[in-house]
């Protein structure tokens, strides 16, 4: 047995023993098959390392250079004309194939896109949202409405919905007397209700005053006789004929929907449209929440 093989076996033995020592010190449970396989793998690596080293050391000792020298030499150091190792050559051809695939299919079809990721995220979320809240109960809607209100509505209507002393509509009441008079005088055609435009000057003078006072006081009790002119569209009770025209007594869901969709310019100023910024469930939640503000 030549001395190189002895040295290689000795090297392998040292590696194996070192591995076992470390394993023992770390108190690794070898009855666990994963650990056992890992140990066998470690031993195999040690043996292979020793074997491969021995092969190349022996080659270095016995090999002599041969072959055809290239024409150039650099300060006396020459280079043999060797064939490219076949592994490299195939890998090179492989990269060409991969480049063709990447150029025609990989990049154009499967490219990462931030917008695509956003689309997926929103789609997944919306689907889940609709499923979870398909039959949301009042408490959930109320809570959802409040959080939407605080983010989107409170900057103008105030956190309590009081309209910040006249800077926006006071949502704790339906309409002030001045507002009713303003609408009666100027008409209204912004909300897109099925009944259509309300012409200006439907009432005037004392009649308008009486109507305005009744609405501003919360539409309690029987309406004044003058309300008959309003009742043809807004209903005898002022509740808007089931969504055919605006409800004058409270913020019901059709009213919230229409205002969010169209925006509104009234006596106080302009409210921008929020069309498309809320899902139907969220609009319902907002309507639920806004309707409870008047009770506080």
């Amino acid at each position: 047995m030549n001395s190189l093989i002895v040295k290689a076996l000795g090297f392998a033995a040292i590696l194996i023993i070192a591995t076992i020592v470390v394993v023992k010190q770390m108190h690794i449970d070898l009855s666990d098959p994963i650990n056992a396989i890992t140990i066998i793998g470690a031993i195999a690596i040690a043996v292979l390392t020793a074997g491969v080293s021995a092969k190349y050391i022996s080659q270095m000792k016995s090999d002599t250079a041969s072959g055809e020298l290239a024409d150039e030499n650099w300060d006396g150091i020459g280079e043999y004309k060797n064939e490219l190792p076949s592994g490299w050559a195939y890998a090179f051809l492989g990269t060409i194939v991969w480049a063709l695939w990447y150029w025609t299919i990989g990049y154009p079809v499967d490219a990462f896109s931030q917008i695509g990721q956003w689309n997926e995220e929103v789609k997944t979320y919306n689907k889940k949202f609709e499923e979870v809240h398909k039959n949301a109960d009042q408490a959930t809607l109320q809570q959802m409405g409040e959080s939407i209100f605080l983010v989107q509505c409170a900057p103008c209507h105030g956190v309590t919905g009081d309209g910040l002393s006249g800077k926006a509509q006071d949502l704790t009441k339906r309409m002030s007397k001045e507002q009713v008079l303003y609408v009666i005088k100027n008409g209204q055609n912004q909300l897109g209700y099925p009944m259509g435009a309300m012409p200006p000057g439907m009432a005037s003078g004392e009649a308008a005053e009486k109507i305005a006072t009744w609405i501003a006081n919360g539409s309690k009790g029987t309406p004044p006789a003058e309300f008959a002119v309003c009742a043809s569209c807004h209903g005898a009770d002022g509740k808007g004929n089931n969504g055919m025209s605006p409800n004058l007594t409270e913020y019901d869901q059709p009213l919230v929907e229409h205002v969010l969709k169209q925006g509104k310019k009234g006596m106080i100023g302009r409210m921008p449209a929020f069309h498309g910024r809320f899902t139907p469930v969220q609009v319902k939640a907002l309507a639920t929440y806004i309707n409870t503000l008047k009770d506080n």
Binding site: W118, L164, A168, G269
Partner: protein, 221 residues
């Protein structure tokens, strides 16, 4: 075959650089060129809006407000549709900002109105309790520099071919002829405002900074 190349390391390096740079060019430049085109329907800023943009820059709104909505759900929920680079085609310079002490403003025109801005600039805490934004009352008295804004419009039209109409052209007479249009636009903004001094100033043919700024903010959508 390529031994001559190996013998010329400098030439070889230049060759490698050119190959890699070319790959970079054909991957990067077409995207840039496409993204820099204005999105469909984008109009250049009016002169009044440009004056407002100058106010925005001058009072350093960019220090606390960004103008770039990233495509994340949390952002699009709060601020609206994510920003596209083509929307900034007429922004010279763009005002993306990199700090959000206050909210993003890229689509503020969608959910705030002239009334709100007027209240907010006069006294931010009157509409946003707890706001740390300072009041900008000086904007109600300072006059916006609409003349320079006009000059800017002329410049970008000449240098960058920004599509302004034929009535925007160099020269004092052209400006005198154009000025009534700016005042007309300012009057529309002032009509929605409550501050009497501002209304009076606009009727006198002056443009307070607040009017120009609101015109600019309303334009952001």
């Amino acid at each position: 075959m390529f031994h001559w190349l190996e013998k010329n390391p400098f030439l070889f390096s230049v060759g490698v650089f050119i190959v890699i740079a070319f790959a970079g060019l054909i991957e990067i430049l077409p995207n840039f060129a496409e993204a820099a085109r204005p999105v469909v329907g984008l109009k250049p800023y009016t002169v009044l809006e440009l004056a407002g943009k100058e106010v925005y820059k001058k009072d350093n709104c960019i220090a606390c407000h960004s103008q770039l909505i990233r495509p994340f759900k949390a952002e699009t929920d709060r601020y609206g549709q994510y920003s596209l680079s083509g929307e900034y085609a007429y922004d010279r310079p763009f005002l993306w900002g990199s700090k959000r002490t206050g909210p993003d403003l890229h689509r503020v025109g969608n959910y705030r109105t002239t009334d709100w801005h007027e209240n907010h600039m006069w006294d931010p805490t009157s509409v946003v309790p707890g706001s740390i934004m300072p009041a900008y009352k000086h904007m109600f008295t300072n006059k916006a520099d609409i003349e320079t804004a006009y000059a800017e419009a002329v410049t970008v039209k000449t240098v960058f071919n920004t599509p302004y109409g034929d009535d925007i052209k160099p020269g004092r007479e052209a400006w005198e002829a154009y000025k009534p249009k700016v005042i007309e636009e300012a009057k529309k903004i002032a009509a929605d405002m409550k501050n009497q001094d501002v209304k009076d100033a606009v009727n006198r043919g002056e443009v307070p900074e607040i009017v120009a700024l609101i015109a600019y903010l309303n334009r952001l959508k």
